[in-house]
């Protein structure tokens, strides 16, 4: 659906800018571009970041799978492997704790005047990404293929007929976690 719109390159660049505007506006209003909010989450004192992420996941999941059921959208699945997701994301996590911002929130934090987010975040992340491009051929051969599990989703690996039983179960678990967080006053 909407293939003409998707193929209109200029309009898509404009849409990207517009969607980014909304994303940045929301991240800032949620206070998740603040060093204190992110470190509060990583120190398990302030659960704002997790609340934003889990709410976005539930909302997005229900809508995206409903639209997919109607054939309006296709999923954007990425293949994974133990050698890709575990070491890469652990290194990311270590950096996340040191910097106190992730890539998107670095941009958002610089936009409210955080200069450590410019130097460490925006410039540092680009240096790291550039270094990765230099070592990529060696990693690709040796490590990235280890434990390859493809682009499987939770629906693919569970023995269920109706995907919505998985979707509603995940939604129920997430809502339960959010209720528990509120009850605990976190």
């Amino acid at each position: 659906m909407l293939t003409n719109l998707h193929n209109n390159k200029r309009l898509q660049l404009l849409l990207g800018l517009l969607f980014g505007f909304c994303f940045g506006f929301l991240l800032q209003k949620g206070r998740v571009c603040d060093y204190e909010t992110i470190m509060g989450q990583l120190l398990l004192q302030d659960f704002t970041v997790l609340k934003v992420m889990l709410t976005a996941i539930v909302t997005g999941m229900v809508g995206v799978y409903a639209m997919r059921g109607k054939g309006w959208v296709k999923l954007h699945k990425q293949a994974g492997s133990l050698g890709t997701n575990i070491p890469g994301s652990l290194i990311f996590g270590i950096g996340f704790g040191m910097l106190g911002y992730c890539p998107g929130t670095s941009v958002g934090a610089f936009a409210h005047g955080a200069l450590d987010a410019l130097v460490g975040g925006i410039i540092g992340i680009m240096i790291g990404a550039g270094l990765y491009a230099a070592v990529y051929p060696k990693l690709k051969e040796r490590i990235l293929k280890i434990g390859d599990f493809g682009d499987k989703t939770l629906i693919d690996v569970l023995p269920v007929r109706n995907p919505w039983s998985v979707i509603f179960s995940v939604a129920a678990v997430i809502v339960l976690i959010l209720i528990v967080l509120e009850k605990m006053g976190l």
Binding site: H6, V52, I94, C102, P103, H112, T153, V170
Partner: protein
């Protein structure tokens, strides 16, 4: 009308409102742009384009940039949009403030700018390197991949927090 302006000026929205908003935004990116929200690819492309401007066209021949073509695309414009949106948000709510060292950092580790920047740059390099190695960041895996129930994204999101919580606890509780 006044209440609408008050809402836009409010510096802090409920995390649930923001989360639902980001969820709705994902519906629109899937439907209208055939894309999922993701940030870190744009950093990689920018790094490659800067390196190419300095060292010449051979940079684009690197295997990584052959598989992930350099250039300005939807995801790159998305990041420019994030900056403008976050800037407008901070400006209208009066939270814009130039600052080198966050106050929470200053209370724990002092006001030395170079110490803060050294840790921030090392952290940023790890983030950039790890985001490319793991094929995604807190947006691409943490929100977009998890909402599609991708196993790899849930694994990555868990690793982001394991690494992040571990380092934060080490820095603020032990050191």
């Amino acid at each position: 009308m006044n209440t609408m302006i008050d809402v836009l000026r409010d510096p802090t929205w409920s995390p649930y409102v923001v989360g639902v908003g980001i969820g709705f935004l994902s519906w629109l990116t899937f439907l209208l742009s055939d894309h999922a929200l993701g940030i870190s690819t744009a950093f990689s492309k920018t790094a490659g384009m800067i390196e190419k401007a300095i060292r010449g066209p051979k940079v684009a021949k690197k295997l990584y940039y052959q598989e992930n073509k350099l250039g300005i695309d939807w995801g790159w414009m998305l990041v420019i949009g994030v900056f403008i949106g976050a800037l407008v948000s901070a400006r209208i709510s009066g939270t814009f403030q130039l600052e080198w060292v966050p106050s929470m950092w200053e209370e724990a580790f002092g006001s030395n700018i170079l110490v803060r920047l050294a840790v921030a740059v090392i952290g940023g390099i790890c983030i950039g390197f790890g985001a490319r190695w793991g094929c995604g960041c807190t947006s691409g895996h943490g929100i977009s991949g998890t909402m599609q129930l991708l196993l790899g994204s849930w694994l990555s999101a868990a690793c982001f927090f394991i690494g992040g919580v571990g380092v934060a606890m080490l820095m603020y509780r032990i050191l």
